[in-house]
Point group: D2
Chain length 285, copies 4
């Protein structure tokens, strides 16, 4: 089977782009197996994802270098990546472990192709989970004193840098991260928030949902930006609830949403199906 590559481009909408890209793929011996495009009329932007097989004698970096002149001509931003991709990943969590356990189970017994190299938490509850999946566990606790939080953030930032990661997943990591921690991971750090954002930003969204008396709860997976719960949304899902469901029950039902939505977002990222523009995403199928 021939290797695959994924080309993602975004550029001002112009006539002729599709033909130019398809012609280029054909010129390097590529065979398009999946292509999807989107024109955002309000912003006059064009987005495309082209997945193609190729002979494999050419490395992806060489292909990218060959595409660069075309990209420059059309004023494109682009990425060109190999598929399948198995990103070096760290999973961060706190006391709630269902999302982390789910990601580990999918990686081990399912079909999520992550190379998980570390589990990290501000609590030590996750240590047995890491052990049962033979993963290194890093306990980065918040100590005592006025500077404890800053110290923890510095330690965490250094740890993440040291691990040579492609992807950081906040799988119910409950400490808000400062912009300095987030900035190096733009577009490479995915968080799961337990509400359908932008409703119920911040702490205790299930409590907020209960007190407002909503009939639907949700979960949102998004890239982390420097504004809390405001980054580009990758995936959301919802479930119907009723007056019968108290906060504990919402929390329980919400877990299924959180695990499924986070896994869906991570998969889309790993398959190079997400493009971001401004605070929004294009997620190709």
């Amino acid at each position: 089977m021939n290797p695959s590559a994924v080309l993602r481009i975004s550029c001002p909408d112009q006539s002729g782009i599709v033909a130019a890209v398809a012609t280029w793929v054909a010129s390097v011996g590529g065979n398009i197996v999946h292509a999807e495009q989107h024109t955002d009329a309000s912003d006059a932007m064009f987005f495309q994802r082209v997945e193609f097989t190729h002979a494999g004698v050419t490395a992806v970096d060489t292909l990218a270098a060959g595409f660069a002149p075309l990209a420059a001509h059309w004023d494109m931003t682009f990425t060109l990546d190999a598929l399948p991709w198995k990103p070096r990943t760290a999973i961060l969590c706190s006391k709630q472990l269902h999302c982390a356990a789910d990601l580990l189970a999918r990686t081990t017994y399912g079909d999520l192709g992550l190379d998980i190299v570390a589990m990290i938490s501000n609590h030590d509850d996750a240590a047995p989970l890491a052990t049962s999946f033979s993963l290194p566990f890093h306990h980065v606790a918040v100590g005592e004193g006025a500077t404890a939080r800053a110290t923890q953030e510095a330690q965490l930032g250094e740890l993440l840098q040291s691990l040579n990661l492609d992807l950081v997943i906040l799988a119910r990591y409950m400490l808000v991260m400062p912009p300095s921690l987030v900035a190096p991971w733009t577009g490479r750090m995915i968080n799961i928030h337990h509400s359908f954002l932008p409703a119920f930003i911040g702490a205790n969204p299930y409590r907020q949902a209960h007190d407002r008396g909503v009939k639907v709860i949700g979960a949102t997976a998004h890239y982390v930006s420097d504004v809390l719960d405001e980054g580009p949304i990758i995936a959301q899902d919802v479930a119907h609830i009723s007056h019968r469901d108290d906060v504990a029950e919402l929390t329980r039902q919400g877990r299924d949403l959180e695990t499924v939505v986070l896994a869906r977002a991570v998969r889309a990222h790993v398959e190079h199906r997400v493009l971001t523009f401004g605070n929004r995403t294009v997620v190709f199928g």
Copy 2:
């Protein structure tokens, strides 16, 4: 077939209520055909809806009078209503007519038992729709000048009062109503808002949803209170969307949500299945 009655009660949670109510129903010759209860543990409140058939020699008002001492003993708030109920209803709309048209079609060709006695709008677009369903149409427009809006609100308030209504449905009526207009209709005025509240309160929720890049849109039917889009929620539903859907497409897809959610809420109200407490509802099945 024997007539039916619906008893709805809410009271502080106490041991023995269920037996007391069931015993009372049996004492008046009633046969319970459906009963549902809910205990809200956080507020220590008990809610129940009991639907029962009875011989019919006794009027519902007499039944209610007979229940009153029991209610007083247990510190209950209660209503006792006949079923089926065909409330005298006014439908208010503006330029978007899909919700109004749907309610009329359900009433005429479907199974929604409303006695629609008036269509009211601040625009005259709905006149042909009213005519084709042989309904009186009231055009209550906003005129020119500084006091035009207040004049319109006064006219509308008087019109609603004059119609001897049981129910007012805001089927995409787009003018915000002042508290004085809303107050007489507490628990009897239902609005459809085109977002999953509390996200995207106010104007242009589909535009807001698009700009935030959400992957789910929704609609919310609620009793109108004196705070905009803050009344007790009766029904909500949602639909998955993608980057492909621009504001016009969200608006189009949202119409199906709005019509279905509004009809669902109106039906629950007409079947005496809704109880409110604070800003929340219990909607029995």
Copy 3:
């Protein structure tokens, strides 16, 4: 605003098709505003829908004639249609009128661009509905006697032929049609079936669903083929139910599914977004 055209192609999967099609569109001065493709790996088939604006000096038929050599070269089946399209449509129904009423309301007060030229029924219940929307009503009843059904089918077939129709919608038309009636309308006759096919084929699907004790009901819109309920599926949707819902309640809840699913399928057809192959469909977004 320039006119739009939609090119739909299906052909054996080959390298270079996308480039060839995009180059052709550019060669006729077209600007691709939306393109979507699908490769069915198991059948080695390629499908594409390309929506493009063009100067409009060229008629769609002329464009199609110009594309024919390319299509022949790549062994393509293709259609090339103008957009928007307002097909001459007949709506067939029986006693249940919710789907028909919904299609009329969407056409008149919503955004479904049908040119409805006839309502046809084997019962006369729909006559007032047709009248209130100023539409001709054709009552094609089944008479008495051994040949009554055949006579009715012949009358109906002739009526459909005489109306110069683009589209026939079976909006809860409850008589099974013989192959001779269906054959002339392959790919142009859409039916709504009140179950998630292939479960509960045939009569009384809500009764069947109730007796099997399912927890989900559905509705299916499909092109009519000569085998009952076996044609290519265009759209399906489902709703959760519970033990509480008797057959009457399933029927009532199912109506919302039926109207929404049928309208969704009709819209996809009208927007030239459906391709069929064998007994399956590709429905582009």
Copy 4:
């Protein structure tokens, strides 16, 4: 906190049952915290689940003995169980481990109160999973020869009997069980089938779904009966799919349905919320 008990009754519908049951609960010092009832009009049957706290000086068996005369009087079938209940459970699986892994993760890191005492499989793939959760693994393989299958079934039957189980979960166990193996576990053996039954009974439902071209796939959890895939359905859920999804993708997406639906059914069973009658279930909320 006082202990809880759950009374489930089914009997011919009669006037006065609710009062009689509620009076009995009060007579033993019980306080009803949740009650739900259902009258099946077509079968004239009454079903009720009453959850109540009690002083705890009385054992559940003694309570049940005390209720028996009342049950006899009203011709009731009933069960009376303690809550919470942590059933001794065996999980059976084959090569697909996502459901088994999910149940283990929910038991260990989530909130599903099972006492899992054995993992059993006809393959040895699940051994590492059992080990990582410190569970005994039983490999009951099918050997060679004409009688191999019968031998395996006999071994499995004996193993299940020897484990003193309350519950057997078929978490994608792919061998069809003969009636003799199923009979001892009526109402205590739950299977997950990877389609929305009754569509796509038997082998390869995702292949069947793909070939029929459906737009929705599903999963069904049901009690196992002696007819394949025909037992009483406890839970079902569905997901929208498109032409893009090949059999492998349906299989992948279906996994999320299977794990969530199976866990939902198991939870309902463990909380004594399910009653069966004929081939249907009542699942109280």
